[in-house]
Amino acid sequence: MNADPQQWLRRCAAGEPVACRQLVEQYGRMAGTIILRTIGRRDLVEDLLQETFLRVFRSLPDFEGRAKLSTWICTIAQRVAVDELRRSQRAPILVHEEHDAADPANIEQEADRDATDEMVRAALSGLPEKYRLPLVYAAIDGLDYATIATMLGIPVGTVKTNVFRGKQMLRERLEATP
Protein backbone atom coordinates (compact mmCIF):
# COMPACT_ATOMS: atom_id res chain seq x y z
CA MET A 1 0.00 0.00 0.00
CA ASN A 2 2.75 2.45 0.95
CA ALA A 3 6.34 2.23 -0.22
CA ASP A 4 7.70 3.93 2.87
CA PRO A 5 5.76 3.08 6.05
CA GLN A 6 7.63 5.65 8.14
CA GLN A 7 6.75 8.43 5.74
CA TRP A 8 3.17 7.23 5.67
CA LEU A 9 3.00 7.34 9.49
CA ARG A 10 4.52 10.82 9.53
CA ARG A 11 1.81 11.95 7.12
CA CYS A 12 -0.82 10.42 9.41
CA ALA A 13 0.68 12.17 12.42
CA ALA A 14 0.51 15.45 10.52
CA GLY A 15 -3.20 14.85 9.99
CA GLU A 16 -2.99 14.41 6.22
CA PRO A 17 -6.49 13.19 5.27
CA VAL A 18 -5.47 10.64 2.60
CA ALA A 19 -2.91 8.93 4.85
CA CYS A 20 -5.32 8.94 7.82
CA ARG A 21 -8.09 7.46 5.69
CA GLN A 22 -5.78 4.67 4.50
CA LEU A 23 -4.83 3.85 8.08
CA VAL A 24 -8.49 3.66 9.15
CA GLU A 25 -9.38 1.57 6.10
CA GLN A 26 -6.60 -0.87 6.86
CA TYR A 27 -7.11 -1.32 10.60
CA GLY A 28 -10.62 0.01 11.29
CA ARG A 29 -12.46 -3.25 10.82
CA MET A 30 -10.28 -5.22 13.20
CA ALA A 31 -10.18 -2.46 15.83
CA GLY A 32 -13.98 -2.09 15.54
CA THR A 33 -14.49 -5.82 16.00
CA ILE A 34 -12.28 -5.78 19.10
CA ILE A 35 -14.37 -2.94 20.54
CA LEU A 36 -17.64 -4.66 19.63
CA ARG A 37 -16.62 -7.93 21.23
CA THR A 38 -15.35 -6.19 24.35
CA ILE A 39 -18.40 -4.05 25.07
CA GLY A 40 -21.04 -6.05 23.20
CA ARG A 41 -22.87 -2.94 22.01
CA ARG A 42 -22.89 -2.06 18.33
CA ASP A 43 -24.30 1.44 18.89
CA LEU A 44 -21.16 2.56 20.75
CA VAL A 45 -18.55 1.11 18.40
CA GLU A 46 -18.34 4.05 16.03
CA ASP A 47 -17.77 6.60 18.79
CA LEU A 48 -15.21 4.45 20.56
CA LEU A 49 -13.43 3.66 17.31
CA GLN A 50 -13.26 7.36 16.54
CA GLU A 51 -11.74 7.94 19.98
CA THR A 52 -9.29 5.09 19.31
CA PHE A 53 -8.05 6.49 16.02
CA LEU A 54 -7.83 10.05 17.31
CA ARG A 55 -5.62 8.69 20.09
CA VAL A 56 -3.62 6.75 17.51
CA PHE A 57 -3.04 9.85 15.36
CA ARG A 58 -2.13 11.91 18.42
CA SER A 59 0.33 9.30 19.69
CA LEU A 60 1.88 8.38 16.32
CA PRO A 61 4.92 10.65 16.87
CA ASP A 62 5.69 8.54 19.98
CA PHE A 63 5.25 5.20 18.17
CA GLU A 64 8.69 3.63 18.27
CA GLY A 65 7.94 0.59 16.16
CA ARG A 66 8.86 -1.88 18.90
CA ALA A 67 5.49 -3.60 18.41
CA LYS A 68 3.75 -4.04 15.08
CA LEU A 69 1.54 -1.11 14.13
CA SER A 70 -1.51 -3.39 14.05
CA THR A 71 -0.75 -4.66 17.57
CA TRP A 72 -0.35 -1.11 18.83
CA ILE A 73 -3.66 0.00 17.32
CA CYS A 74 -5.47 -3.10 18.62
CA THR A 75 -4.08 -2.43 22.10
CA ILE A 76 -5.37 1.15 22.06
CA ALA A 77 -8.79 -0.04 20.81
CA GLN A 78 -8.93 -2.66 23.56
CA ARG A 79 -8.07 -0.12 26.27
CA VAL A 80 -10.64 2.37 25.01
CA ALA A 81 -13.28 -0.38 25.03
CA VAL A 82 -12.35 -1.69 28.49
CA ASP A 83 -12.40 1.87 29.88
CA GLU A 84 -15.92 2.27 28.49
CA LEU A 85 -16.96 -1.10 29.90
CA ARG A 86 -15.76 -0.13 33.37
CA ARG A 87 -17.31 3.34 33.10
CA SER A 88 -20.71 1.98 32.15
CA GLN A 89 -20.46 -0.98 34.57
CA ARG A 90 -22.71 -3.05 32.32
CA ALA A 91 -22.23 -6.69 31.61
CA PRO A 92 -21.49 -7.04 27.90
CA ILE A 93 -24.12 -8.91 25.91
CA LEU A 94 -22.99 -9.97 22.48
CA VAL A 95 -25.98 -9.12 20.37
CA HIS A 96 -27.62 -11.68 18.15
CA GLU A 97 -27.38 -10.74 14.49
CA GLU A 98 -30.09 -11.53 12.00
CA HIS A 99 -28.95 -13.65 9.06
CA ASP A 100 -30.20 -13.39 5.51
CA ALA A 101 -33.38 -15.26 4.69
CA ALA A 102 -32.54 -18.93 4.90
CA ASP A 103 -33.14 -21.61 2.33
CA PRO A 104 -36.50 -23.22 3.36
CA ALA A 105 -34.84 -26.64 3.33
CA ASN A 106 -32.36 -25.49 5.97
CA ILE A 107 -34.71 -23.52 8.17
CA GLU A 108 -34.64 -26.06 10.97
CA GLN A 109 -30.87 -26.32 10.84
CA GLU A 110 -30.56 -22.51 10.84
CA ALA A 111 -32.91 -22.23 13.82
CA ASP A 112 -30.89 -24.83 15.69
CA ARG A 113 -27.69 -22.95 14.91
CA ASP A 114 -29.19 -19.65 16.03
CA ALA A 115 -30.37 -21.21 19.28
CA THR A 116 -26.88 -22.58 19.96
CA ASP A 117 -25.30 -19.20 19.14
CA GLU A 118 -27.72 -17.52 21.51
CA MET A 119 -26.87 -19.91 24.34
CA VAL A 120 -23.13 -19.59 23.73
CA ARG A 121 -23.40 -15.79 23.79
CA ALA A 122 -25.45 -15.82 26.97
CA ALA A 123 -22.91 -18.13 28.60
CA LEU A 124 -20.05 -15.94 27.34
CA SER A 125 -21.62 -12.84 28.88
CA GLY A 126 -21.52 -14.52 32.27
CA LEU A 127 -17.83 -15.44 32.10
CA PRO A 128 -15.32 -13.40 34.09
CA GLU A 129 -13.55 -10.78 31.94
CA LYS A 130 -10.23 -12.58 32.45
CA TYR A 131 -11.52 -15.56 30.42
CA ARG A 132 -14.11 -13.90 28.22
CA LEU A 133 -11.81 -11.37 26.55
CA PRO A 134 -9.06 -13.79 25.41
CA LEU A 135 -11.75 -16.16 24.18
CA VAL A 136 -13.64 -13.62 22.06
CA TYR A 137 -10.43 -12.05 20.74
CA ALA A 138 -8.98 -15.43 19.79
CA ALA A 139 -12.01 -15.95 17.56
CA ILE A 140 -11.17 -12.85 15.48
CA ASP A 141 -9.52 -13.70 12.17
CA GLY A 142 -5.97 -12.38 12.00
CA LEU A 143 -5.57 -11.85 15.73
CA ASP A 144 -2.91 -14.24 17.02
CA TYR A 145 -2.09 -15.16 20.61
CA ALA A 146 1.01 -12.92 20.63
CA THR A 147 -1.08 -9.88 19.69
CA ILE A 148 -3.74 -10.74 22.27
CA ALA A 149 -1.01 -11.13 24.90
CA THR A 150 0.33 -7.65 24.11
CA MET A 151 -3.17 -6.17 24.13
CA LEU A 152 -3.98 -7.64 27.52
CA GLY A 153 -0.49 -7.16 28.95
CA ILE A 154 -0.08 -10.82 29.90
CA PRO A 155 2.26 -13.60 28.69
CA VAL A 156 1.28 -15.67 25.64
CA GLY A 157 1.13 -18.81 27.81
CA THR A 158 -1.44 -17.15 30.08
CA VAL A 159 -3.57 -16.21 27.05
CA LYS A 160 -3.58 -19.83 25.91
CA THR A 161 -4.43 -21.02 29.42
CA ASN A 162 -7.26 -18.49 29.76
CA VAL A 163 -8.70 -19.40 26.36
CA PHE A 164 -8.62 -23.08 27.30
CA ARG A 165 -10.12 -22.42 30.73
CA GLY A 166 -12.73 -20.09 29.22
CA LYS A 167 -13.86 -22.79 26.79
CA GLN A 168 -13.99 -25.27 29.63
CA MET A 169 -16.22 -22.92 31.65
CA LEU A 170 -18.44 -22.37 28.61
CA ARG A 171 -18.77 -26.12 28.15
CA GLU A 172 -19.69 -26.58 31.83
CA ARG A 173 -22.34 -23.88 31.63
CA LEU A 174 -23.81 -25.20 28.39
CA GLU A 175 -23.88 -28.75 29.74
CA ALA A 176 -25.93 -27.44 32.65
CA THR A 177 -28.42 -25.94 30.17
CA PRO A 178 -31.42 -28.23 29.56
Binding site: D117, V136, R171
Partner: protein, 117 residues
Protein backbone atom coordinates in the same frame (compact mmCIF):
# COMPACT_ATOMS: atom_id res chain seq x y z
CA UNK B 1 -27.18 -29.08 25.24
CA UNK B 2 -26.80 -31.58 28.06
CA UNK B 3 -27.59 -34.44 25.65
CA UNK B 4 -24.63 -33.69 23.34
CA UNK B 5 -21.37 -35.63 23.36
CA UNK B 6 -18.39 -33.57 24.64
CA UNK B 7 -16.73 -33.41 21.20
CA UNK B 8 -20.02 -32.37 19.56
CA UNK B 9 -20.44 -29.65 22.15
CA UNK B 10 -16.87 -28.45 21.56
CA UNK B 11 -17.54 -28.26 17.82
CA UNK B 12 -20.71 -26.25 18.42
CA UNK B 13 -18.89 -23.88 20.77
CA UNK B 14 -16.09 -23.37 18.25
CA UNK B 15 -18.46 -22.71 15.38
CA UNK B 16 -20.55 -20.32 17.51
CA UNK B 17 -17.39 -18.44 18.51
CA UNK B 18 -16.51 -18.22 14.83
CA UNK B 19 -19.88 -16.58 14.17
CA UNK B 20 -19.53 -13.90 16.87
CA UNK B 21 -20.42 -10.47 15.50
CA UNK B 22 -17.88 -8.62 13.37
CA UNK B 23 -17.86 -4.89 12.83
CA UNK B 24 -18.12 -3.48 9.32
CA UNK B 25 -17.24 0.19 8.95
CA UNK B 26 -19.87 2.38 7.26
CA UNK B 27 -18.91 3.54 3.76
CA UNK B 28 -17.86 7.06 4.76
CA UNK B 29 -16.38 6.20 8.14
CA UNK B 30 -12.71 6.43 7.14
CA UNK B 31 -13.23 9.80 5.41
CA UNK B 32 -15.11 11.27 8.39
CA UNK B 33 -12.41 10.09 10.75
CA UNK B 34 -9.65 11.45 8.50
CA UNK B 35 -11.39 14.84 8.55
CA UNK B 36 -11.62 14.70 12.36
CA UNK B 37 -7.92 13.83 12.52
CA UNK B 38 -7.06 16.78 10.30
CA UNK B 39 -9.06 19.09 12.58
CA UNK B 40 -7.30 17.62 15.61
CA UNK B 41 -3.86 18.21 14.11
CA UNK B 42 -4.71 21.89 13.67
CA UNK B 43 -5.42 22.29 17.37
CA UNK B 44 -2.28 22.40 19.50
CA UNK B 45 -2.69 19.97 22.36
CA UNK B 46 -0.27 21.95 24.54
CA UNK B 47 0.16 25.76 24.41
CA UNK B 48 3.32 27.04 22.71
CA UNK B 49 4.58 28.69 25.91
CA UNK B 50 4.43 25.39 27.73
CA UNK B 51 6.21 23.62 24.88
CA UNK B 52 9.01 26.22 24.95
CA UNK B 53 9.40 25.86 28.69
CA UNK B 54 9.43 22.09 28.32
CA UNK B 55 12.05 22.25 25.56
CA UNK B 56 14.27 24.46 27.69
CA UNK B 57 14.04 22.05 30.60
CA UNK B 58 14.70 19.10 28.32
CA UNK B 59 17.84 20.75 26.95
CA UNK B 60 19.23 21.30 30.42
CA UNK B 61 21.09 18.26 31.66
CA UNK B 62 20.15 16.87 35.08
CA UNK B 63 23.45 17.99 36.58
CA UNK B 64 23.08 21.53 35.27
CA UNK B 65 19.55 21.66 36.60
CA UNK B 66 20.62 20.48 40.06
CA UNK B 67 23.55 22.91 40.25
CA UNK B 68 21.30 25.79 39.17
CA UNK B 69 18.68 24.81 41.74
CA UNK B 70 21.31 24.48 44.50
CA UNK B 71 22.77 27.93 43.74
CA UNK B 72 19.29 29.38 43.67
CA UNK B 73 18.31 27.86 47.02
CA UNK B 74 21.62 28.83 48.65
CA UNK B 75 21.32 32.39 47.38
CA UNK B 76 17.75 32.63 48.55
CA UNK B 77 18.56 31.25 52.00
CA UNK B 78 21.52 33.60 52.44
CA UNK B 79 19.38 36.51 51.46
CA UNK B 80 16.28 35.62 53.50
CA UNK B 81 17.70 33.91 56.60
CA UNK B 82 20.87 35.06 58.39
CA UNK B 83 23.46 32.32 58.89
CA UNK B 84 23.37 32.70 62.71
CA UNK B 85 19.65 31.92 62.68
CA UNK B 86 20.25 28.77 60.65
CA UNK B 87 22.90 27.64 63.13
CA UNK B 88 20.59 28.26 66.07
CA UNK B 89 17.49 26.62 64.54
CA UNK B 90 18.57 23.87 62.09
CA UNK B 91 15.03 22.47 61.95
CA UNK B 92 13.94 25.75 60.43
CA UNK B 93 15.82 24.87 57.24
CA UNK B 94 13.79 21.66 56.74
CA UNK B 95 10.54 23.40 57.46
CA UNK B 96 11.35 26.32 55.17
CA UNK B 97 12.42 23.92 52.42
CA UNK B 98 9.25 21.86 52.79
CA UNK B 99 6.95 24.86 52.73
CA UNK B 100 8.77 26.35 49.75
CA UNK B 101 8.48 23.07 47.85
CA UNK B 102 4.78 22.81 48.65
CA UNK B 103 4.06 26.35 47.51
CA UNK B 104 6.12 25.84 44.33
CA UNK B 105 4.28 22.61 43.58
CA UNK B 106 0.88 24.21 44.03
CA UNK B 107 1.88 27.22 41.94
CA UNK B 108 3.24 25.07 39.10
CA UNK B 109 0.17 22.80 39.13
CA UNK B 110 -2.19 25.75 39.02
CA UNK B 111 -0.17 27.39 36.24
CA UNK B 112 -0.11 24.21 34.17
CA UNK B 113 -3.83 23.62 34.59
CA UNK B 114 -4.62 27.23 33.71
CA UNK B 115 -2.59 27.02 30.52
CA UNK B 116 -3.78 23.59 29.40
CA UNK B 117 -7.52 24.09 29.98
Amino acid sequence: MSDLQPDQLDKRIDSSLGRLPQWQPPADFASRLAAAAARQSLQPVVPAALVQAGNLLQQLSDAALMVTAAFFVAGLMAWVVPWTTVMQFPNLVSWAGGIALGITGLWLTRRTLTQVY
